[in-house]
Amino acid sequence: MSRLLKRILKISVWPAILMIAGKLLGIIAANIVYKLDFFIDNQIEGIFSIQLYYTDSTTMVLVNSLSNLLMIIILAVPTIYFIIKTSIYQSTLQNPRTIVKITKLNLLKWIAKDDTSFLLIFIWCSFLLVASFIVIAQNIQGICYSWIGGISAVLAIFSVWGTIKTYEQEIDKIYPKEKELY
């Protein structure tokens, strides 16, 4: 088995678990906070056999929206953290001013530890994109608040942009830009 595949599998486990956990925690939290009544029923048709039901649509939209928001936040926070960390790290390699600023802020140890790779960012971004697509689709269906759909779209666009920038920086390491060398 290739080392790349091993590493992808290792990295993918956490966002996969957190995606499900975020959704589940959101549902539980909404039920506890708003003291809602729900019931679980079995259905013979379709892919899924067990389904969560609410008796009125307003409650269903509320629970779905809050759980979607928590899921998106749980996936977006590490993704954005990795992107920012990588971009600051790359900036320190190219710009001495950044090193000075980082040293003043006492973040040199945090930045110097290069445990963030493009692969990590790419996988986290992929999970964030999948989650955002689900939220936007549910927003179009009218079972999620539009502002949560908007937040998901913005976060997805930002993370894609960050991933592309990280990719460019990684490529620059291998094939340095000519104008910077000469």
């Binding site: 599998l9 996969a16 959704k23 729900f38 039901y53 008796t55 009125d56 689900i134 079972i143």
Partner: protein, 181 residues
């Protein structure tokens, strides 16, 4: 003779499937966890209900000169019993009081049945009122009438008890109203 280890090559397709599963399983789980709306079915003896009803019947309460000692008992999920004491009262007078607040939080209309009676035969006409609609429960000749009300989805209304009597009533009488969902 040196043998080539084929195990990593055999495992690799399974690892790719596992990787695909890591993306597909959370996606399907999240879609499945998204709740949907469904009207609660009235389960028979074989089923088990894990919900509380959408229909809420609440006592309005408050003080009134004639209608006193109000209680509301929820005998089971579909049966309520409202009790009150109607005090002695003057002839040719009418009395009215909001007694119950009815709420339907569901997505389908709910039918409520009412049956009211007193412990004595007085020349009183007792009826229920919702807005301008009147529902006769007990006529002047003590004939009892069962009534039905349709409560629209996501609506609430106040139910008034309306008492008219031709003669002077010199003693209190006990009134009971059975409410069935």
């Amino acid at each position: 003779m040196k043998t080539k280890n084929l195990l990593p090559q055999i495992i690799e397709p399974f690892a790719i499937v596992a990787l695909l599963c890591l993306f597909i399983v959370p996606t399907l789980t999240v879609i499945n966890l998204s709740p949907i709306t469904k009207e609660v079915q009235d389960k028979n003896v074989l089923g088990v209900n894990t919900f509380s009803s959408n229909t809420v019947v609440k006592l309005v309460g408050g003080t009134h000169d004639i209608i006193k000692n109000e209680t509301l008992v929820n005998s089971n999920e579909r049966q309520f019993l409202y009790k009150a004491t109607i005090q002695k009262r003057e002839a040719e007078e009418t009395y009215s009081k909001p007694i119950l607040k009815l709420q339907n939080n569901g997505t389908f209309p709910v039918k409520l049945s009412f049956f009211g009676y007193t412990d004595s035969k007085t020349n009183s006409k007792i009826s229920l009122k919702i807005g301008r609609n009147s529902y006769l429960l007990k006529d002047y000749d003590s004939t009892l009438h069962a009534q039905e009300i349709i409560l629209e989805p996501t609506s609430d209304t106040n139910l008034y008890l309306y008492i008219e009597n031709t003669n002077r009533i010199l003693f209190p009488e006990y009134f009971e109203l059975e409410i069935s969902l």
